[in-house]
Symmetry: C2
Subunit: 174 residues, 2 copies
DNA sequence: CCTACCGATCGGTAGG
DNA sequence: CCTACCGATCGGTAGG
């Protein structure tokens, strides 16, 4: 519901209605509307970091590592389209402390992604591109998947990931 | 303000306050809050289509054409970060008819972009990638620029566009 | 462009 | 998990 109507556009009464209770009763389950948003964001963030940690320190060629991270990222987004959308878009409605907390989490993820790219550049297996710009672009493309991906469409998540890696690594030009 | 606080999170009183008048007075300038959102979205959409039309039917290699469209797209986003953000994110708060209208506009732009990619594939100058997936990914990366681009940062829009084209066309792998 | 105001709705609490 | 309710705020209108 946060994804579809936006955080600000979703009322406690909307949420309560969706689960068949009164708005006031929701406060037996959650601390506040914002806390609910926080919980969603933190949970999704955890998924991303768990995936990253599985790959981060494994010894493998930069090319393989990047492809693997992309695959895992795609898997998380496609398996939880709503959660991903909220984590990526609605997190900014958190207030002060929670806002800063999520901002840092997002930054850290991007940086770890960037480290993998950078390693490939330094090893000489990747072209001499701008690792930061590259990482931002790739993550943008990956993150936007939630906006158009249809779970029952023609593309499976793993095929999607494969095509992504291919495009990114090989380039468009023949 | 729509960008920063979101459409739903921005009140008429917020807007009025920003221009130093009362909320009620805003209605001498705009029809409604939604109409204001619509105007912003339509104006930005027009920018994108104007740019596309300048390139669309010009005779040039697919590779050049794609690079040119990317350059123009980047220029529009970087020159109007707020507008781009609203066009890309807040448009969905439009109701029914306007929502559908914008949805079609966005789809049409993506399709025209895709046509350029497809032409390159058919001419054999591009690899045999999935044009739709490719277009979605590139546009995602381009659209997300508004999220991190700093006007006074190290990258000029044209340099940004150049690096983008390079990465996309040549690929990451050496 | 203002004051004054409308009915509706907001997140949340009290008390059971 | 409910009823009843709080003060605040919402988009918008009437009338000047």
């Amino acid at each position: 519901m946060f994804r579809e109507k936006g955080y600000a556009g979703t009322s406690m009464r909307d949420l309560a209605n969706a689960v068949g209770i009164e708005a006031a009763s929701l406060y037996n389950h959650i601390k506040s509307k914002e806390d609910l948003l926080l919980q969603i964001c933190v949970a999704v963030a955890q998924d991303f970091f768990d995936a990253l940690d599985e790959v981060k320190n494994v010894e493998m060629p930069a090319e393989k590592k990047l492809a693997l991270v992309i695959e895992k990222h795609v898997a998380i987004v496609t398996q939880n389209l709503d959660g991903a959308a909220v984590f990526l878009h609605e997190w900014r409605f958190l207030r002060k402390d929670n806002f800063d907390r999520l901002k840092n989490i997002r930054k850290k993820y991007r940086q770890e992604f960037q480290t993998i790219v950078q390693a490939g550049v330094e090893e000489g297996v990747f072209r001499n591109i701008n690792p930061k710009l590259y990482s931002l672009s790739v993550l943008s493309a990956l993150n936007w998947i939630y906006d158009w991906y249809k779970p029952n469409g023609e593309l499976t998540p793993s095929e999607l990931a494969k095509q992504f890696s291919y495009i990114l690594l090989e380039g468009l030009k023949k």
